[in-house]
């Protein structure tokens, strides 16, 4: 029996990646596993198994700090196609994925300053949808909670709305307009952490960005970790566990996995390499970069060995003198 109506004041016209809470639950029930299984595998296998063409992909933190860069390069190396990227708080992930021909849609929180990507957008070669870092994060939170949307008071009044999938209603409790942000349940997420065990329990030190929400909202989750530690370490300090194992599908041991970004407590970012990236303007420059640093090596380990080198890595480790709070 209907007992009234709520007015829809406005709604965005853009396509959204939306999975109904029941469909997500069904996936979790049937395709995720609550068994304590050893999920440790090579990056090659993890990406092969858990990233598919056409997937909606999310990652955590940024290119500069604790970003999942080795997994990102592996995705490009395996020439995944038609990815839709959740570019929350990103700097160069989106540019590399577009440059590698992997991504053709981006939900924009922040796509960074690499001229190449902005140029591609100007030419209309990549389909952008407008959101913001906050709204994408709230969408992931709703996806993680298993609810269809979350209300929020951002985006209101802006031109973002019409290029998003936001619905504006008159809130039935306060009688003022509020945005309903649709839940975001990525097909796959890639997350770099300081410590994980072989089952996928993981913890991070430092700001946690959307580590938990991203993992919890995603159908498939690949974790890369600076260190693989014993499960007992989590049990000794359970307040620090950010991801419980049952959210995770694959664990990759990836020392320097955030390079050229840094990982707190381990190594600082490589500023020189970063400048190399942010100066990429043309297609040729992009392809040369990818050839040099992605296609021409077979793995992250080979990349570190042949393209970075131990003396550079040592230098970055040497710079990471602040350990307080990170262990």
């Amino acid at each position: 029996m209907a007992s009234g109506m709520i007015e829809i004041l406005d709604r965005g016209k853009a396509e959204i990646h939306f999975v109904s809470p029941d469909d997500f639950r069904e996936f979790v029930k049937n395709k995720k596993n609550r068994g304590l299984r050893n999920k440790l595998m090579e990056e090659k296998e993890a990406v092969k198994k858990f990233v598919s063409n056409g997937d909606y992909i999310a990652y955590d933190f940024s290119s500069l700090t604790r970003g999942p860069q080795s997994l990102l390069r592996e995705i490009i190396r395996q020439e995944k196609r038609r990815l839709w990227v959740c570019a929350k708080f990103t700097l160069y992930e989106s540019a590399l994925l577009v440059g590698g021909g992997c991504a053709d849609k981006i939900d924009v929180g922040f796509i960074g300053w690499i001229p190449y990507l902005l140029g591609e957008a100007e030419k209309g070669r990549v389909k952008l949808y407008e959101w913001s870092n906050g709204s994408l994060t709230y969408r992931l939170l709703a996806g993680a909670m298993g609810i269809p949307f979350i209300p929020a008071r951002d985006l209101l009044g802006t031109d973002i709305i019409k290029h998003s999938g936001t619905i504006i209603i008159k809130d039935p409790f306060s009688e003022i307009p509020v945005a309903l942000l649709p839940a975001l349940n990525p097909d796959v997420s890639i997350i770099h952490v300081q410590e994980a065990d072989i089952y996928g329990n993981a913890r991070v030190y430092g700001p946690t960005v959307a580590t938990l929400e991203t993992a919890m909202a995603s159908k498939k989750v690949i974790i890369s970790a600076e260190r693989i530690i014993e499960t007992i370490e989590f049990r000794k300090n359970p307040n620090m566990t950010i991801i419980p194992y049952y959210l995770v599908d694959a664990v990759v041991h990836a020392p320097f996995g955030a390079y050229p970004g840094g990982t707190q407590g381990y190594y600082e970012m490589d500023a020189e390499h970063y400048l190399k990236l942010t100066s990429i303007t043309t297609e040729d420059e992009m392809q040369k970069y990818l050839e040099d640093y992605v296609y021409s090596v077979d793995s992250h380990e080979e990349f570190l060995d042949k393209r970075v080198g131990i003396s550079k890595l040592n230098e970055l480790v040497r710079k990471a003198e602040i350990l307080e709070g990170f262990r």
Partner: protein
């Protein structure tokens, strides 16, 4: 009498730092806002609490300010809390964050900000920018938002090509009619030539200060819309020696941020 030399950017940073209040929280974005907050903390507002969208609350940032490591150990050093992005934004949404500080590619007379694109066709913009980032949330949620931007005519427009972050009036409607939080929004605009607030009644941008030595006309002529002019437009003091010393020796010795923009020489 002596001569002081400074850049546009140094001027803006010092103006912003002098505006902040102590014992307040402030949402900080990448770049200039970081330098402003550290300068203010060193000289004026020792207990200001910086909030970063990635989840750092109240760090005691280590200097020098290093480009790009906003989420890294130096900048998040000895925070009061490391938390999540959804929590950082929720602190702001629930009203706990007093100030916000943003840049802007375009701004209109009601303080609407464009950081998305220039042009008329969204699908193929003349110029594409990185997008909102957390800017939309800062302008929507924080009580008082300070916008820092270089003073160029093309940046001050009648209507933003794309409204990324909300000002006070949008398409003739008050921001509150859209459901945006009450009594919040843009508070000051600091440019390389002057400072603006927003008229309470008309909600329009109003010139309240000009860099010493500039005339009101010189400032207003480089804007594509005519701002209101306050009854008593004050003269904005250039950066002082102490500010410049802290900026150049302690915070940004490599000049990653502060060297940008035009150089200005002035007798003081």
């Amino acid at each position: 009498m002596s001569v002081v030399e400074f850049t546009d950017t140094e001027f803006m940073i010092c103006q912003a730092a002098r505006l902040l209040e102590d014992n307040k929280t402030i949402f900080i974005g990448w770049g200039i806002p970081q330098v402003v907050a550290i300068l203010a903390e060193r000289l004026y507002t020792p207990n200001i609490v910086q909030v970063f969208e990635f989840g750092a609350i109240g760090p005691q940032c280590r200097t020098p300010f290093l480009r790009g490591t906003m989420g890294g150990p130096q900048n998040t050093y000895r925070s009061l809390q490391w938390c999540s992005m959804s929590l950082a934004f929720s602190y702001a949404q629930a009203g706990y964050i007093d100030y916000g500080m943003l840049g802007a590619a375009q701004i209109d007379k009601y303080g609407n900000i464009n950081s998305t694109m220039i042009g008329e066709n969204y699908e193929q913009p003349k110029k594409r920018f990185p997008g909102s980032g957390g800017g939309n949330e800062v302008a929507s949620y924080c009580w008082k938002t300070i916008i820092v931007m270089s003073h160029e005519s093309r940046r001050f427009v009648e209507r933003c090509d794309f409204i990324t972050s909300p000002g006070h009036m949008i398409n003739g409607k008050d921001r509150e009619e859209f459901g945006l939080p009450r009594n919040a929004g843009p508070w000051r605009v600091i440019t390389s030539k002057g400072m603006f607030d927003f008229d309470e009644k008309t909600k329009q941008m109003r010139l309240i200060g000009v860099l010493r030595g500039l005339s009101i006309e010189e400032v207003v002529s480089e804007m594509s819309f005519k701002p209101l002019i306050a009854n008593d437009v004050i003269e904005l003091e250039p950066p002082n020696r102490e500010e410049l010393k802290v900026l150049r020796e302690e915070i940004d010795p490599y000049g990653l941020i502060i060297t940008k923009g035009k150089k200005i020489k002035m007798k003081v």
